[in-house]
């Protein structure tokens, strides 16, 4: 219990971090014990401590009295929830606006149940509510009120953490055939809408016998493992580089392989093929070889001429990344964005081009990890506190 208490002083969502954070790159890599054998499995310990406390500690956190200042948080994902929790603990009245019908963002719609049980996320959200954070679901900022209007209505500051909610496609012919999903759609149908329980839950999800998942990040691994659980016989990860360059966490790849996901490496689709009814029947692919390292330091994949071949699949999931959802940036007057549509924000403070408006997480950095988003939410909470104190003193 003491351990959980200590963690919670710095981290609002330990049961989540213990499960989904890449500790092997963050802390376990630097662990001194790791120099002689395995590093301390701090991620697993964090998970245990948080779960233990959840099960055994029924006490509610103490509510900090209000300091009379109001902050709006847009988006109830890892960045927004972290920022909201920290600000509430400092005494601010925090209202979180969430577009979907449940808070949690990617933790609810994206990361599958088998990797992050939704009950765990729900508990962490309940804790925030116990702290006094108000969460308004079904509230699309930009459509009901925009960020400028929130400021006019009396919020002293706004934090934008709307995430990377714009799925990318490959822009190859045939991508609109029935049976081609974005990873976002596929995972949302399954996780958020509980499509795996259809028809008890009314949202269907269709998985055929042979599934190609294009891309090899963590989201691709989630999609591939989900497809297996939904009854697919063969699931392929189609990736244009080699195994060494796979961007997913090693642990995620290992789990996927253990479960029977097959790798089609140095391969990339050039066209989705359909049958006479408009359903996917396969993907036409090119084989690649690796050339010199590119600007990312990874060896550049070069297509091999004449290497075209057809993979027979009946479901395709595009997991090649997500961009910033434009809904909030495009409806906020005076908010500076990059040419890719990310919000321009100070790395340390989250300060945007608009006074009183802060941003963090994937909407600023592009699709990254839960922990980076939480870190950004944390820094922004500090910066918002400093900004509002400064404003009061002037």
């Amino acid at each position: 219990m003491g351990a959980a208490q200590s963690i919670k002083e710095y981290n609002n969502l330990p049961a989540i971090c213990g499960r989904v954070c890449p500790q092997e790159n963050q802390c376990e890599k630097y662990c001194v014990i790791g120099k002689k054998g395995d590093p301390v499995a701090i991620g697993r310990l964090e998970r245990f401590a948080a779960d233990y406390a959840m099960e055994h500690d029924s006490s509610k956190p103490e509510r900090v009295p209000s300091n009379g200042k109001k902050v709006a948080v847009v988006g109830a994902g890892p960045a927004g929830l972290t920022c909201a929790g920290d600000l509430r603990k400092m005494g601010y009245d925090v209202t979180v606006f969430e577009a979907l019908h449940v808070p949690g963002g990617v933790l609810m719609y994206g990361i599958p149940e088998f990797r992050l049980p939704k009950a765990v996320v729900q508990k962490e959200i309940d804790t925030l509510r116990d702290l006094g954070v108000e969460i308004k679901v079904n509230s699309v900022i930009g459509k009901i009120d925009n960020v400028n209007e929130l400021l006019e209505q009396g919020y002293d500051a706004v934090f934008i953490g709307t995430g990377a909610g714009l799925p990318y496609f490959l822009n190859i012919p045939g991508e609109n055939y029935n049976g081609v999903y974005s990873a976002n759609e596929f995972l949302t149908r399954v996780n958020l809408m509980k499509g795996y329980l259809f028809p008890e839950y009314a949202t269907p999800v269709k998985v055929g016998r042979r599934v190609a998942v294009c891309g090899a990040g963590n989201v691709a691994m989630d999609a591939a493992r989900t497809a297996l659980r939904l009854g697919a016989e063969e699931v392929y990860i189609v990736y244009r580089r080699s195994q060494a360059e796979i961007p997913a966490r090693h642990e995620e790849l290992e789990h996927a392989l253990e479960e029977g996901v097959q790798l089609k490496l140095l391969t990339s689709p050039v066209e989705v093929l359909g049958d006479e009814n408009g359903w996917v029947r396969g993907i036409k692919c090119l084989r690649y070889e690796l050339g010199e390292p590119d600007e990312s330091g990874r060896r550049r994949p070069i297509p091999i001429e004449g290497s075209e071949f057809v993979m027979e699949v009946d479901t395709v999931v595009m997991a090649i990344g997500q961009g910033p959802n434009p809904l909030v940036p495009s409806t906020t007057k005076g908010l500076e964005t990059t040419k890719w549509g990310n919000i321009v924000a100070d790395e340390e403070t989250g300060q945007t081009s608009l006074e009183g408006v802060f941003a963090g997480g994937d909407i600023v950095t592009g699709a990254a990890t839960v922990i980076l988003a939480m870190g950004a939410g944390k820094k922004a909470a500090q910066a918002i506190d400093a900004y509002l104190k400064r404003k009061q003193n002037n």
Binding site: V140, P167, N178, P199, A202, K206, N277, N325
Partner: protein, 279 residues
């Protein structure tokens, strides 16, 4: 929770509900849509807004019972609640004074055409409206449409009311009168395609309102992709209104029946009448 404050049954399968949703009513404009979810097990149902009352905080929806979820929705009564109701979503209709415009509503598409026609009328247009349905029983809001139109034509496929024939037959005649600046056509995909084909030769700009399968409705999943002018668009954020002459109708039709088999399974499950607690 969002209360159903009024329910009106137009026919055994077409129903109206007034929903208390002040946040949505405050900002909604003609052409936008909402997404609702009946209960914890429900899917997210997108419906284009049929009317709104900003002062009372009311959004009016009209729906046809075509599948498992809309049938379940139709069973709810005034006083009951919807679990989720989010909006306004999508872009509003571009309303200007174009001159003479024609608003065509087919079947349950009469509902979304109504606020658009009204807004066009308020903007100073000469509004000619054409509404139609398969048969008299499926028609509604004739009086409402008449009140906001300079002229109203009514057609039924079987001739049970109004002119016998399709809305497109009347549309051809109205276009022949000349000077039509713009046409709105809203209804089933086949009807919107037919309207677009009627206006294509004369090049009169024709706006249709797409209602494809959606999940989140905020541009996050891409389930609602359609092809417009050979470019993939997300109907939920880029639309729902598009230039009917540029829409790939074959694709839209194919994508609309993606879950036909699942729909049958869900219907079979609901055959006991639903709401009985036996499933």
């Amino acid at each position: 929770m969002y209360q159903i404050v009024r329910k009106e049954v137009f026919s055994p399968t077409i129903k109206l509900m007034d929903i208390k949703a002040p946040d949505v009513a405050r900002k909604v404009q003609a052409g936008q849509f909402i997404i609702l979810r009946i209960d914890e097990h429900g899917e997210r149902i997108p419906l284009t807004v049929a009317d709104f009352d900003r002062e009372k905080g009311i959004i009016t929806i009209i729906f046809q019972e075509v599948g498992y979820s809309t049938i379940a929705l139709g069973k709810l009564e005034a006083g009951q609640y919807l679990l989720d109701f989010v909006g306004p979503l999508g872009e509003a209709t571009q309303v200007e004074n174009f001159g003479k415009v024609v608003c065509v509503g087919g079947g349950v598409g009469i509902a979304p055409v109504y606020p658009i026609a009204r807004a066009l009328k308020e903007a100073g247009n000469e509004v000619i409206s054409i509404i139609g349905a398969r048969t008299k029983e499926l028609l509604f809001w004739e009086e409402e449409m008449k009140a906001i139109s300079d002229r109203l034509f009514v057609a039924t496929d079987d001739g049970s009311y109004g002119r016998k024939g399709f809305v497109t037959d009347i549309l051809k005649e109205v276009i022949a009168e000349g000077n039509v600046a713009r046409v709105w056509g809203i209804g089933p995909v086949v009807m919107m395609r037919a309207v677009s084909e009627v206006t294509r030769p004369s090049g009169i700009k024709t706006i249709v309102s797409m209602n494809p399968i959606m999940v989140d409705g905020t541009g996050m999943c891409g389930a609602c992709r359609i092809s417009v002018g050979n470019e993939t668009k997300f109907a939920c954020v880029d639309g729902p209104e598009f230039d009917g002459h540029l829409v790939d109708w074959d694709l839209a039709l194919r994508r609309s029946i993606m879950y036909k088999d699942e729909e049958k399974r869900a219907m079979a499950k609901g055959q006991c009448g639903g709401g009985c607690g036996c499933h």
